[in-house]
Subunit: 369 residues, 2 copies
């Protein structure tokens, strides 16, 4: 029983009630590099639902249970908030006046939201011509200042590093060591809710930071006896951006799943270590398989995620024969589908009929009555 | 102390952990029209964060505390999920094979997600030429079937009602009585987290369903002694769609806050009763005031909501002199800002500088170093 109960003894007070959640640092501070004096910058991230996926499970059969960890319900719409609350908290503790990153996606939105909440400025560097305004709108609304440089993404990464080394500005790209610390709490939440670790953890892999963080979380809990075993870590990459599957850098990664369109993962060695230690696997899924899983999650489970998130479910379904009977499987959904409205328009079934005569009988007939 | 503690006695097990949340019906079933045999259709909605808003509070001063109830972190991105889990659960219990609504916004998305999760078909009726595909993309991806009729919105409402009266199809528009039952749980959550009711509850008002539902929730908790008082209910309408302020229907309501662009609220009488019973007020806020609050929430608090949601904060700031010193105020944010990317693009500060020379010194100079 992990639902909270009030301490009061009156009967009505003994009913279950919602937990007073103050964010993941508050809850898991015992496992995080903070002290009582650390100024916590939080949007009450974490505590995201672990939702059963019965339609996916029934495709697998054999008593397999499937859950999705819906991290798109974090405050800025992606799992990046878990790492960013830690990174920005430590930046504030260190006295930084500003943070900087090179990113066009979920990282820039999370960095901007937490930096502004913490009273810091947020700078985002991108290459000229790299991105549509729509992708940056969220970060801009949060108050990010975006500089678009003459140069490619690697040059942008060099400059943000140089800035952070020469000025009181904290780099919050994936090299920031606190981000994985925050992200590992997702594993804690999974174990807290299931009562143990799952048998399989299916996860989309781009930079391989999140798979490394989940593994850290499971291992820490396992060392404390909070789970009885460790999961097999099943990482899935898009076929056009699958360096961990091929073992080779991909110079021009291509996939509709933009959040995992990475040819040279920052956490390559860490990811290999996770795969070996967990007896896990890296496998590739095609864009078709990803978008099929994306539609299936929405239309059969009622869950709307980013295309990249659906790689975890696509991979599970592709490798369903390997899942042990009766196993518990958790698929990580890293981002909210609302982040990418264009994909929703493009890949929906488009059951949209126009010019319907406004009469009961005609409408009823179109509904199959 | 409402953070849950494990029942186990080992020291590591006594640490706080995330609650095992199964959705609002599960948690608040004692207050809802369900039995042990009711087939609950849930996406684990509810349990949304109540986030302090220190920047808003400091504009008011005098020791006033401000929190936002961020209901945009529900599974489909709006508070509609609270009502829809109840409406769809009861539809399933009654044996419905399909549900229907006339809506172009958050209701259609929620209806589609929950209906499909419950194994039912979801129909959405809209007037021809009424809406861009983008607004419906989420519902379509969830598997809604959209019929666009030759006729206006009132005709669409007539037809969905006729369909529900003549076929085994449940109407899930705002007339569905179970929706307010589900929505009232937001008030329960606010009281559970604060430990009592707030002094003021600021809320955007369109159809006036949500203000009615919150009031129901506060009253039920108050009757059970779970809060010591009832809040003053402060409803805010957009100036171009403010029938409850003027006392007159608005034939052509106009506001950027589309989610509250309603000229003739379905719950008009109920809303008046709430205002009278709570000694509350209805007031209007202009689109400028709404969009200023929208930007402020994002850039100062790190919270990204729909424009309509920001009406609650705009109204609070407009009437800040009336807030008693030391009062606790909760502002309801009904929807996720990601629902409306166009507004984010249009109303962000647009700190976007292109063509920056890729050199450390130049970038540092632009950052003010």
């Amino acid at each position: 029983m992990t639902l909270s109960l009030s301490a009061s003894e009156s009967p009505s007070e003994a009913l279950p009630r919602v937990a007073n959640w103050h964010g993941l640092i508050h809850t898991y501070r015992h496992y995080l590099p903070v002290t009582d004096r650390t100024p916590i910058v939080t949007l009450h991230e974490g505590n995201t639902p672990l939702i059963p996926a019965p339609a996916i499970a029934s495709e697998i059969g054999r008593g397999v249970q499937v859950f999705v960890k819906y991290d798109g319900l974090n405050p800025t719409g992606s799992f990046k908030d878990r790492g960013m609350t830690m990174a920005i908290t430590k930046a504030k503790e260190a006295g930084a006046k500003a943070v900087i990153c090179a990113s066009t996606g979920n990282t820039s939105a999370a960095a901007a939201a937490y930096a502004r909440r913490g009273g810091m400025r947020a700078y985002v560097l991108i290459p000229d011509g790299y991105v549509a305004l729509g992708k940056l709108a969220q970060a801009l609304l949060y108050g990010a200042e975006v500089l678009s440089i003459k140069g490619n993404f690697d040059r942008a990464l060099e400059i943000v590093r140089e800035v952070s080394e020469n000025y009181p500005v904290t780099l919050v790209n994936s090299v920031n060591p606190y981000r994985l610390e925050g992200q590992k709490t997702a594993a804690f939440e999974v174990v807290d809710v299931l009562g143990d670790a799952p048998d399989w953890l299916c996860i989309p892999v781009g930079n391989a930071g999140n798979i490394s963080a989940y593994w850290m979380g499971f291992c820490e809990y396992h060392q404390e006896g909070r789970c009885s075993h460790l999961p097999k870590m099943m990482g899935f990459q898009a076929a056009g951006a699958a360096p961990l599957v091929s073992g080779e850098k991909v110079t021009h990664p291509e996939t509709l799943a933009t959040a995992i369109r990475i040819g040279n993962p920052a956490n390559w060695q860490r990811a290999i270590a996770v795969q070996e230690a967990s007896r896990g696997e890296f496998n590739a899924v095609t864009d078709d398989e990803i978008m099929t899983a994306y539609r299936k999650l929405a239309a059969h489970e009622g869950i709307f995620c980013e295309p990249a998130s659906a790689a975890s479910v696509a991979g599970l379904l592709k490798h369903k024969e390997k899942v042990p009977a009766g196993a518990k499987v958790v698929c990580v959904l890293t981002g909210n589908g609302l982040k990418d409205p264009d994909s929703a328009i493009k890949f929906s079934e488009n059951n949209f009929r126009q010019g319907v005569e406004p009469h009961l009988e005609i409408v009823a007939q179109m509904m199959g009555f």
